[in-house]
């Protein structure tokens, strides 16, 4: 059964459990590289990060430690809901905390919603997001 599962079983027991996903110092060059990757030349990004940047803080670690072991087969992004409370600026130290809010399984698909919050060095909430991912069985995938 294990090789057929869409979501690794051990994650089903972790709904609602909070993890600290690390503390990240935001470097000017990282922000600049991100703005360049979107091809967004707005001079505002010399002193603050574009709003979508916050979604990537700790993203690599989240991908490696949560997404990769959790999704056993196909994986697509379903939705993002971002709430911005204040801009992220170079020099900030952002703590990322996340949890699985829910898992909804259908026959060949699973929708997993994560809630992630980002706080700064003053312990102020900077942003919160909900990310929903879709796990799917490869042989059933067509598109969309």
């Amino acid at each position: 059964m294990a090789e057929n599962e869409i979501i690794a079983g051990e994650f089903r027991d972790k709904i609602g459990e909070e993890w600290e996903l690390g503390v990240y110092e935001i470097e000017k060059g990282t922000v600049r590289r991100f703005a360049r990757a979107i091809d967004d030349p707005n001079p505002l990004w010399d002193t603050m990060a574009p709003p979508s940047f916050v979604l990537t803080i700790g993203g690599e670690q989240f991908g490696e430690n949560v997404i990769a072991p959790m999704f056993r087969d196909g994986l697509l992004h379903s939705s993002t809901e971002l709430e911005c409370h204040q801009p992220v600026r170079p020099g900030d130290e952002i703590t990322v905390t996340g949890k699985i809010a829910n898992i909804r399984e259908r026959s060949q698909m699973a929708f997993v919603t994560f809630e992630i919050s980002y706080t700064n060095q003053q312990r102020e909430l900077v942003a919160r997001c909900q990310q929903t991912m879709i796990g799917y069985k490869t042989e059933k995938a067509t598109n969309g």
Binding site: A37, D40, N42, P50, S78, E81, L82, K140
Partner: protein
């Protein structure tokens, strides 16, 4: 980025100036590096096909970044993006044009702040909406 837009000048049903993008595979690799999202469906064709996809696809969150830019280009230095939601409904492929658009759905003042809500979306050159969402922003008053 044009002149500063003010709350009083925004009309419900008014359109946001569109933003046209054409991400290449190079841009996907740049965004992968900048975001830390190294999932191989975004740069390895064989891997993408092994996952049932026709070819390499654009990261949904890169399109979310384009939609963020649509808003921040419009709202200027004194505007502020408060909420951004994106639903990834269809796939975008590198080399194709993505046009980001938005339309004002609502404006209101709450706790002294001037809010604008917009429906936003990204469409491909066949006019299909591949990403749809909403943005909530605050804008300054005149003076």
């Amino acid at each position: 980025m044009g002149e500063q837009v003010y709350y009083d000048d925004v009309m419900v049903d008014g359109e946001i100036p569109p933003l046209v993008k054409k991400p290449t595979t190079r841009q996907l690799v740049m965004w992968a590096g900048a975001s830390g999202d190294y999932y191989a469906i975004h740069y390895d064709k064989d891997f993408a096909q092994s996952k049932g996809l026709p070819k390499v696809i654009v990261h949904g969150q890169l399109v979310a970044g384009f939609l963020g830019q649509l808003i921040t280009d419009w709202t200027g230095e004194k505007g502020s993006l408060r909420k951004l939601t994106c639903s990834y409904k269809g796939m975008n492929f590198p080399g194709e044009v993505i046009t980001c658009r938005g339309k004002v759905s609502k404006k209101y003042i709450e706790n002294g702040e001037r809010y604008i809500e917009c429906n936003i979306w990204a469409e491909n050159d066949r006019g299909e909406k591949t990403v749809t969402g909403k943005a909530v922003i605050t804008l300054p008053a005149h003076n």
